[in-house]
């Protein structure tokens, strides 16, 4: 009898917006009404016709209606004679529009009664239909969301390393657990020329598929750049240049990139705004700091490059903010101090990862949903491995550079002390070596490099069965190292000589040999401690 052609288009957005979305249905061809071939008429939310129909007690004569209403004009133009509001639970959910009666008579009061009855029964049925559609749409949205998450997870997992490298003398372990709404965490291990290995931990802002796509792009660009450029700061600079043009608005990538020389323990690193790695050393937990902006924000960024040496027994933890930004039930944050404490109180490697996860789960409470991805990579240098190798053919225990800046000799002392911690020097000889290293480094920074930032001092610690050698090299060129003649204390006390000039004298007294060599604009002071035929050397 009646055909509702497009009865409730635009009704998929929920009941609360129904009034905004009411569409007058296409004029209804009926047995008694002339068929009209007109498109449906939309009624604007502020059109007075809406309020009129909402409150009308039954079928409305369109021709008799006088309202300042564009929709009313359209209905009249379309030849609609009668509009029957469909109201369910006080809400206007549709309108039946009828053209002129086929008999060309006006609609009778019986016609109107019939139509009103029909509307009263059709409205609830229409409403039920709308609700079913809404629910189906919601279910479809949910399903699409779950599918998207699955895609994000697949992208993410596809780009994580399938296996970790087997580095003699090192334990490498990694952990990755995505949040339900997959964040943009990633890590990577990149084999490089000369046996070096690149380590990456990164985090893309945003979640889901967009983050996963940016992550995969970042990873690919990083891999390609790492092979050619090696220096971590230069690599991040290049990656930033490549990412910037195509980065979606409001997205960026934080990333820590380090290059490890497994033979020497030398780790060079740069940081694009990522959480600082922790190194567990004999003297406590230290952070690896290097400045740099996140990737993809602005072109032309420079990335500070730093380096350190991981001594035997030391381990480093690279991590993502999913750990420190996890909350407990009272909204307290896990935080950096707690993570640092966990690193300090735990062995390295896989054991450290396990400990962090245990601590984290105890903190957030059982069954709490993980808020963000959690990613960790640990590198641990075996305590004894290097020593065994060193016993045969001389091992490099440390190899690092220091910026020539007053006070940095303390860094040299700490690093060398850490590197030789396992070789069994007695306390007195270790103290003498530390003083000699400090003095040699100061001398190199002050006289060789003139405290210039572009003239770093490099230090290597070599071990053979017979001797421990610390080589302190500066760019002092041909500048001669003054011989360590014994200072004349009487002359100094009498004010006839400067009170200074003790450095080289001390160095010679503190170690068994102090040798100066020069080559190609570089000058090296080698400090040697004999390890056999211990004669309490030095004094």
């Amino acid at each position: 009898m009646l055909t509702l052609t497009r009865p409730f288009r635009h009704r998929l957005l929920g009941r609360g917006r129904a009034a905004d979305e009411v569409a007058a249905t296409q004029p209804v061809p009926a047995a008694v009404a002339a068929p009209l071939e007109q498109p449906p008429v939309d009624i604007a939310p502020n059109d007075p016709l809406l309020a009129y129909l909402q409150s009308a007690s039954g079928a409305v004569d369109i021709d008799a209606l006088e309202l300042d209403s564009p929709a009313l004009g359209e209905l009249k133009a379309a030849g609609v004679k009668l509009a029957v509001p469909l109201v369910s639970q006080g809400e206007l959910i549709g309108v039946l529009n009828l053209g002129p009666r086929l008999s060309e008579q006006d609609y009778s009061s019986d016609d109107r009664k019939l139509l009103d009855n029909l509307a009263a029964q059709a409205a609830p049925a229409l409403r039920v239909g709308q609700l079913v559609r809404e629910q189906e749409a919601e279910a479809a949205t949910r399903q699409r969301f779950e599918q998207e998450l699955e895609v994000a997870r697949l992208i993410q997992q596809n780009f994580l390393p399938k296996q970790l490298p087997d580095l003699p003398g090192w334990q490498v372990a990694a952990f990755y657990r995505p949040a339900r709404e997959v964040g943009g965490d990633f890590y990577d291990v990149i084999p490089l020329p000369d046996g070096r290995v690149g380590f990456v931990v990164g985090d893309v802002t945003d979640k889901g598929v967009p983050a996963a796509l940016v992550m995969s792009a970042t990873r690919s660009v990083l891999r390609a750049s790492a092979q050619r450029l090696i220096e971590p700061g230069v690599v991040l600079e290049r990656v930033n240049e490549l990412l910037c043009p195509d980065m979606p608005a409001k997205m960026f990538v934080t990333c820590l990139y380090g290059v490890l020389d497994p033979a020497s323990g030398h780790l060079r690193f740069a940081n694009a705004g990522h959480d600082l790695p922790y190194v567990k050393t004999a003297g406590g937990v230290v952070e690896l700091r290097a400045r740099g902006m996140p990737l993809g924000l602005m072109p032309g960024m420079a990335y500070e490059e730093k380096e350190t040496v991981l001594a035997p027994g030391e381990s480093v933890l690279l991590h993502s903010d999913g750990i420190v930004e996890a909350h407990d039930p009272d909204r307290g944050m896990f935080g950096f101090p707690r993570l640092k404490e966990t690193v300090a109180g735990s062995p390295g490697g896989q054991a450290l990862i396990d400990r962090v996860i245990t601590e984290l789960e105890a903190f957030t409470g059982a069954g709490a949903e993980q808020e963000d991805d959690i990613t960790m990579v640990t590198l641990e240098r075996s305590a004894g491995g290097a020593m065994v190798a060193g016993a045969q053919n001389g091992a490099v225990l440390a190899d690092f550079e220091l910026v020539s800046r007053p006070g940095n000799e303390r860094e040299a002392i700490a690093r060398v002390a850490g590197a030789v911690a396992g070789i069994g020097l007695d306390a007195a000889r270790l103290e003498r070596l530390k003083t000699a290293v400090g003095e040699a480094t100061m001398n190199a920074m002050e006289h060789g490099s003139e405290y210039r930032a572009d003239r770093p001092v490099s230090i290597r610690v070599l071990l053979s069965p017979e001797r421990l050698s610390v080589q302190v090299t500066d760019l002092g060129g041909a500048a001669e190292l003054r011989a360590g003649e014994e200072p004349d204390l009487e002359a100094k006390l009498a004010g006839e000589q400067t009170p200074r000039g003790w450095g080289l004298f001390l160095i010679e007294k503190m170690v068994d040999e102090a040798n100066v060599t020069g080559e190609g604009g570089r000058r090296t002071l080698e400090l040697v401690v004999y390890l056999q035929g211990d004669d309490d050397g030095g004094t």
Partner: protein, 120 residues
Amino acid sequence: MAVHELEVSVRERDGVAILDLVGDVDSSAEAALQSAYDEATRERRPVVLNFSRADYINSTGIALIVGLLAQARARGVEITAFGLSDHYREIFEITRLADFMTIADNETGALGGAERSNHA
């Protein structure tokens, strides 16, 4: 390794000025050491240097102490030191600083030495 700029406080005990050195005796220590020495020697009295909380002494620090010793000798002020680790005690011997100042094991020993020299 943390760097601790030297702080020196002056206290008096038994007519002797004791300078408690806390931190690093290196180039950054010059001002703190000199002003404490000046304060301690406003009156002519023996000076005792307490090194028990000075963890790091380098060649520049040695030069500062040589400078103090030179000033003290010019004015006839006796200087005693205590609280040196075995390592720095060895350095004071190698540099012969120990020939020009008394090195005591602890504060009581340092006061005994300082007082004796005061009354000598």
